[in-house]
């Protein structure tokens, strides 16, 4: 968990990505998104998403599946709860 943190809990990048995965609906395998899709829909740089999503996978908040267009990412159940907790 420590690797995700900033000065006030999660870093802003982690918060943005967790929140975006929730609000974009990437909450199960069938709705998983590629890094390019995430970048287009969030305005975040693909490079930032790539490094941040690796941390989120290690923390168990995000899972990935392979597809023709490369890896796709979605929130795990714990990731859904963590993303929701940002607003509760």
């Amino acid at each position: 968990m420590g690797m995700l943190e900033g000065e006030q809990g999660f870093s802003s990048l982690v918060k943005n990505l967790l929140s975006s995965l929730l609000t974009l609906g990437a909450v199960d395998r069938s709705k998983a998104l590629t890094i390019v899709e995430l970048s287009k829909r969030t305005g975040m740089e693909a490079r930032c998403i790539d490094s941040t999503i690796t941390l989120l996978i290690r923390s168990g908040y995000v899972a990935s599946i392979d597809s023709e267009n490369g890896a796709r990412f979605y929130l795990t159940p714990n990731g859904i709860l963590a993303a929701s907790s940002l607003y509760s």
Partner: protein, 388 residues
């Protein structure tokens, strides 16, 4: 009943509240439909213990949280239409917090049925003021929901005062109906040694437990500071922090910096069965929130027979009577909290008294009684409903 969270989507106290209230209302003979958000592995529609649960997928992605809230309310409205068509027009629509207020208000006007809104907290309380444009918007929705509602329910007298002050509501529009607890679910036997062993607690160590979302509001940073005081005098103490959230990394670092790594365990999210087992295996519960409209976890601790220490704030002061069925610590004061913990570590008579009284107190918060009060409130809402 409309709620953004419902088990297994457990973010805060609303999830448990809606879960138990809906079951208690169903036991009273009501046909209860809960409309909530979908969750992996759960059906869109199922009947659980007599409660119709509709888990609604949000079919359109949103670029930000507040737009997403508006969108999921739209899908809630669609589901309310489905329920009305297939099960009949509801007699009342009941929203929980601002997140489902918009679909509740729509249902009120489209179906011409009374709207009841339960406020579990307010934006001003959660954020300790209105600091950004999003907070102002949430505050406005909360005001609008309180205006549109035929009656407003809240979970403590403290919260009632807050709502009347913030939203200029007439006193008789706001009903205080406390959260509840089902004491029978804590009447379980667990292999205490096994649970404690799994958590790395040695047989001679005292186990302190604290449960909640890891946000600033919950005050876990104060508890860690208190622990750093306690372990100077009492080494055989272990603290289990149950929950997760955006502050967890910072709290883990704080625990390490304070030299508490051997004394603190972070469990992350755990299921209810394991949580109950931990509560039955612990020696002390601490609820040290800086802001707490009610504090259902304190009640659960009491129901499971734990001596509880709470911050003397909000609803916690209404649940726990100081020196009778628990102890009050000054909010945000590590020394005060440490002093309470130390008293419970050394005073076995006090622990016995608090345990006994806590179990008796918890029985007063039976969900069946709460459901009866909510049904009376629904009746009043019907009489007060206006649809201009």
């Amino acid at each position: 009943m409309l709620s953004w969270e419902y088990p297994p989507r457990i973010v805060g106290g609303i999830s448990r509240h809606v879960y138990f209230l809906s079951r208690a209302l169903a036991s009273e003979g009501c046909e209860v439909h809960v409309v909530t958000l979908d969750f992996p592995g759960k059906s869109i529609y199922e009947v659980e213990d007599g409660v119709h649960v509709h888990r609604v997928p949000v079919e359109i992605g949103a670029s930000n949280f507040h737009m997403w809230v508006a969108l999921f309310n739209h899908f809630f409205e669609k589901r309310i239409g489905y329920i009305t068509h297939n099960f009949g027009k509801p007699d009342v629509v009941h929203s929980h917090d601002w997140l489902t207020a918009l679909s509740g208000i729509s249902a009120k006007h489209m179906l011409r049925i009374p709207l009841v809104v339960t406020f579990h907290s307010t934006e001003r309380g959660r954020s300790q003021g209105l600091a950004n444009p999003e907070s102002y918007m949430v505050d406005s929705i909360e005001w609008w929901a309180s205006y549109e509602a035929s009656i407003v329910i809240t979970v403590s007298s403290h919260m009632k005062d807050e709502l009347i002050r913030y939203f200029k509501l007439p006193e008789d529009k706001v009903y205080v109906i406390h959260n509840g607890v089902d004491p029978s679910i804590f009447n379980i036997s667990v292999d205490r040694d096994s649970i404690r062993g799994r958590l790395g607690v040695k047989p001679w160590e005292k186990l302190i437990v604290s449960v909640g979302r890891m946000s600033h509001q919950k005050g876990f940073h104060i508890l860690l500071q208190a622990m750093s005081i306690v372990i100077h005098r009492y080494r055989d103490v272990k603290l289990i922090l149950v929950g997760d959230g955006y502050m967890r990394g910072e709290l883990e670092r704080q625990a390490s910096d304070l030299g508490l790594s051997e004394h603190v365990v972070f469990t992350g999210f755990i299921d209810d069965v394991y949580l109950k087992a931990i509560l039955k295996s612990a020696d002390i519960m601490v609820v040290c929130s800086l802001y707490e409209p009610f504090g259902i976890v304190a009640l659960e601790g009491m129901a499971s027979g734990l001596p509880v220490i709470v911050s003397a704030t909000g609803g916690l002061k209404e649940i726990v009577e100081h020196e009778v069925d628990g102890l009050w610590a000054s909010p945000g004061d590590p020394a005060s909290l440490a002093s309470c913990i130390e008293r419970l570590l050394v005073d076995a008579d006090l622990v016995s008294k608090l345990r006994f009284n806590a179990i008796v107190k918890a029985k007063r918060f039976d969900w069946r009684n709460i459901a009866k009060k909510v049904l009376e409130a629904y009746g009043d809402a019907g009489r007060r409903a206006r649809f201009q």
